[in-house]
């Protein structure tokens, strides 16, 4: 990097700066400086600080004592923290797998036969994305309540035996919360994938039809490979929201019943604000961001390899 920099500063810069090699000078760095300062102050510095704090025992107010890796040992041995990590990973099914599959199917159907109502369908499906997640949680808590609309509906169609306070059930609370995640992220996946499908060259579909491919084969052989890049984006975004989920769980169950729906986000919050174990909370947050980075890298790699 140094060589290229010194070259641009030298006399021969005009000659050496061939079109194949864009020149890079200090002036270029100046352009990114404002953004870098903001990014450094509000993203990188707090992030580094939280990593730094994870090596201390600190109650958030008084003097801290050095903890070394003690907090990390707790993260990997404390049963409650492991339950939270496991629950967070499990949410990938509800936040990523289901929404990408559902979004792909809906997008393919809408794209194949645009009708008058499809704009409305698209808007309705995307609506959960623009609602604040706290509001989403409050609405679903009402829907799932013992005498809420879902149970009333079940009773009305003769399934009263199945009706229950969903969020208070040790078996059903976790999938019930997961379904909310699916409801929220499906719209986003659909929009991303729809944009991808509309970019696919129509002649590919035409060729497929000439080769006597039915709608399902067209979907598998033209649509899915055509939106691979969009699938990677959708999976990355939703995976982060699965592992970093907080709002919905906090509002609907607070992690209960028992510890059935506890996720790292809620636990980090409680460690800081309830039990004042800021160091341990930062250690869990650091482990969580490392896990997220690994997953994002894996998805990115899978997307590139298959491209």
């Amino acid at each position: 990097m140094t060589t290229s920099l010194s070259r641009t500063r030298g006399e021969s810069a005009h000659i050496a700066g061939s079109p194949r090699r864009p020149r890079r000078g200090w002036s270029a760095l100046l352009y990114i400086l404002p953004a870098f300062v903001f990014y450094g102050t509000f993203i990188v510095a707090p992030w580094v600080q939280s990593i730094w704090l994870s090596f201390w025992n600190w109650d958030g107010i008084g003097a801290a004592t050095w903890a070394g890796v003690e907090n990390y040992v707790k993260v990997v041995t404390d049963e409650r923290l492991l339950t939270a990590l496991r629950n967070g990973l499990g949410f990938i099914v509800f936040y990523t797998v289901f929404p990408v599959i559902l979004g792909l199917i809906i997008a393919a159907v809408i794209a194949a036969r645009p009708r008058r109502g499809s704009g409305l369908v698209r808007t309705i499906l995307f609506l959960p994305q623009i609602l604040p997640l706290v509001a989403v949680g409050v609405i679903w808590r009402y829907l799932y309540a013992a005498d809420g609309p879902i149970n009333q509906g079940l009773t009305a169609i003769g399934l009263g035996d199945v009706a229950r306070a969903w969020l208070g059930d040790f078996t059903w609370a976790y999938p019930a919360v997961g379904v909310i995640g699916t409801w929220v992220t499906t719209g986003l996946c659909m929009m991303l994938l729809l944009a991808g499908i509309q970019k696919i060259d129509p002649s590919l579909y035409e060729a497929a039809r000439l080769d006597r491919c039915g709608p399902i084969r067209q979907f598998w052989h033209v649509t899915v490979p055509g939106v691979r890049a969009e699938i990677v984006v959708a999976a990355t975004v939703t995976l982060i929201s699965a592992l970093a989920s907080f709002d919905i769980v906090y509002v609907t169950t607070g992690g209960g019943p028992g510890y059935q729906t506890i996720v790292p986000g809620v636990l980090i919050y409680k460690l800081v604000f309830t039990s004042n174990e800021v160091g341990l909370a930062c250690a869990l947050a650091t482990v969580l961001s490392a896990i997220i980075l690994v997953f994002v890298a894996l998805i990115g790699r899978a997307g590139r390899r298959n491209a």
Partner: protein, 440 residues
Amino acid sequence: MQRRTRLVLAPLAASTLLGIALTACAPGATTNDSAADIEASTELTTDEITLTLMSTPESGAATEATIAAFEAEHPNIAIEYSQTNYDDYNQSVNLNLSGDQSPDIVLLNAVANTVKNKLVLPLDDYAGLYGWDDFFPANQLNQWRVAEDGSTLGDGGALVAAPAGFSLVGVYYNKALAAQLGITAPTSLAELEASLEKASSAGALPVQLGNAEGHAAFIVQLLGQGEAGADDANAWAFGHEGETFDTAANRTAAETLAAWQKAGYLGDATTANGTDLQGAVDNFIAGKGLFLVDGIWDAGKIGDGLGESAGFLPFPGANVTGIGTSVAYAISAQSEHPNEAAAFLDFLRSSEASEQQFAQGFMPNDPTVAVAEEGTLQGDIVASWAKVAEADGLVAFNNNATATMNDTLKAGTQQLIAGQLSVDDFLASIQDDWAKAHAG
């Protein structure tokens, strides 16, 4: 590939350096405590001064009116009132107290981190000057006495807050439903259990329970302390050395809760765990449930909803006890006017302030202002409070025994009534949490 790695690493390294540069070395702040340098006195300044007070809408309901009465008596002292909701308040109170703009008087909901870090002033000098110890029954002040370690409460510790009014947890009952079932207000545990049995066999729901926030913990505590007595129960709740939750009384209490669940007295466990306290109050008002174990903070709503049918009792047991705490105010260690702030704390037990507290549904510091018609819900509550005070039976909330105890009790009781946890494991999980905070 190598070039690419370097491109990623260079900014990363630069950012890390920047981050470290922006980060202080050892976390934690030191605060000044100007109030400690001012000698305690009942002589107040004649200068024009302004004090600031922070509270929450629920606890501070009576405080604004009390401030007006105080200002009328002390024209040179103005008190600026501000409030934030309960959750936000608890998260920010310590930051406010340790910051540069600390309020003079703060609502204290828990001693934990605030007292440990010496953010509030010990009030013993003022208690002596104003005679608070003679005025309040011992158990009413003991909740705000904190030992040197910053976590053990009770007799002998430094007083850190003064009460403004009290809450009480007892048993609401539906008088109309009781009359219909031929049940009279139970005065002993045996009578209570007989009523539960009678209601159950008549097809009525005996106990309305909303346990989404863990309120079955109240039932366990009341059953346990009714058997063991207030002093034993407080010793554990206050974190006294060598105490344990695994006592015969608490074991019986947890077993009783589980047995009530099995007998169907609490309704369906999933429904209880999926219903929050306000949902349970709504159900109770709608006539679902003969009894509801809850605090007097819901008395207004229940009185409005059930009218003459609403009744209240102290939880029946071998000992007359109640769970309760006070809305309490403390003085910031950074306050420049601690004497004037203490004068306001003393004003909280005046009849003007007490009347305001009672009007807002709290039991007042001055019990003589608590007058209500006999037979009404308010009358029942006043009578219950008098009985508990007479027996010195007020016990601090087990939920406040440690910073995390509320969560532990919530999860534990949810698992207990759903049959996911044995009584042994339930008791152990509660004691584990306690031992982490009170080991030393």
